[in-house]
Symmetry: C2
Subunit: 231 residues, 2 copies
């Protein structure tokens, strides 16, 4: 790889990292809006989405330019194609954070719910997965990507618990069902954020190892557990 | 474009069409399972997902091979990169159909709900959007892609109506909240299917016109409405 190619690829990766940082910030702020019932912060998150959208377009253009001008092969080609897909995932994650903020905005206008599920824990799991998946991309670290992928089990379990609690609360307070549905909507968006982080992790493993592990992670994971090997 | 390149590109597009056909079939069958409370059909849909997964991997490998060996530029490059993203969208659409089938399986085991929202209409909208977006890809037809994108307004409106009805029903039947939550889950998955079809449509417009319209569709649409022009 020439020095110029290398520099361009790191510029692309840095843009992706920057986008990840924006998503993380949106997620943090949407959670504050939700927990503190703050419509102003919610609105800020909603209005700031344009920055991520523009960045997504820039990254895509950057990738296509690189493909057209540098015509990479092997790992560099996989990296650029991986970034094209990771870019979409990050943009959808930002949309999910915005959706959490929209739910927060609605909920700030109704009387406080006496039901307080542990949203922060689910959000923290999603955020850690987002950060780990992008660290894995920057460091081309398939072991970290693998760990990120595995953490989704935890997010799913937590989500199911919280939904169970919400159903119980709705049964006891049918008059608040409409409001709780906004809260479960926020929970679902956090769980989907974690799902997107697993997509990123799968793409990182493909970039590093050159094999598409998607749809085969479960069996590979079981085989590794038996053999005691690392991915 | 050489004849060989052309043939390879149509082979890739045909694979995408085939995958779209599988998604459509899964969607149809999951709806039958849901409406007819048929756990056997639901299970068939769930078990058939592996075929789409394999096809996704094949299409991705095919695209990367094409990029590495043919080093396309301009529209061919956009087409291959567009397919890489459309491929992911289609696989997620198949997952959503599977999720509808999973909800159908659960609901087939509980007493029938007296609540019968118009799921078929939402499913029909999502299916038409899926089909139109892939027809637009095959014919490189940005007008059809544009129409697909616009149809999402209808899907969103329908979804909101149905959720409103579900909330009303839950208020009156708190003992069935857990079951209705599975039904609203199925509705949400259909609405997300339509969302993915708009992503495909945006990618088709990019392939054809060479401009990233994503995040600018609304303003472009308004400008076009004013000028009376076609996209």
């Amino acid at each position: 790889m020439t020095k110029q190619n290398e520099e361009e690829l790191s510029a692309i990766t840095r843009q992706v990292q920057h986008m990840g940082g924006l998503v993380e910030l949106a997620l943090d702020r949407s959670l504050v809006a939700l927990l503190e019932r703050d419509p102003v912060i919610a609105r800020e998150v909603i209005d700031s989405d344009g920055e991520v959208d523009e960045l997504e377009n820039q990254i895509e253009e950057h990738c296509l330019e690189y493909l057209a001008l540098r015509q990479p092969v092997a790992r560099d080609l996989r990296l650029v194609c991986g970034v094209l897909k990771i870019n979409s995932d990050l943009e959808r994650m930002a949309d999910l954070a915005v959706n959490v903020a929209e739910r927060a905005e609605v909920l700030s206008r109704v009387p406080p719910l006496p039901f307080r599920p542990d949203v922060s824990r689910l959000a923290a799991t999603a955020k850690r997965m987002l950060r780990d998946s992008l660290d894995a991309l920057v460091r081309l670290d398939s072991v970290l990507a693998w760990r990120t992928w595995k953490a989704d089990v935890e997010a799913d379990k937590l989500y199911r618990e919280l939904i169970g609690q919400a159903i119980q609360f709705m049964r006891e307070h049918p008059d608040r069902i409409g409001d709780v549905m906004h809260l479960t909507g926020a929970l679902r968006n956090l769980e989907r954020l974690a799902d997107h982080a697993t997509n990123v992790a799968e793409d990182v493993i493909f970039v590093v190892q050159g094999r598409i592990v998607r749809h085969h992670m479960q069996e590979l994971d079981e085989a590794l557990a038996k053999s005691g090997e690392h991915p």
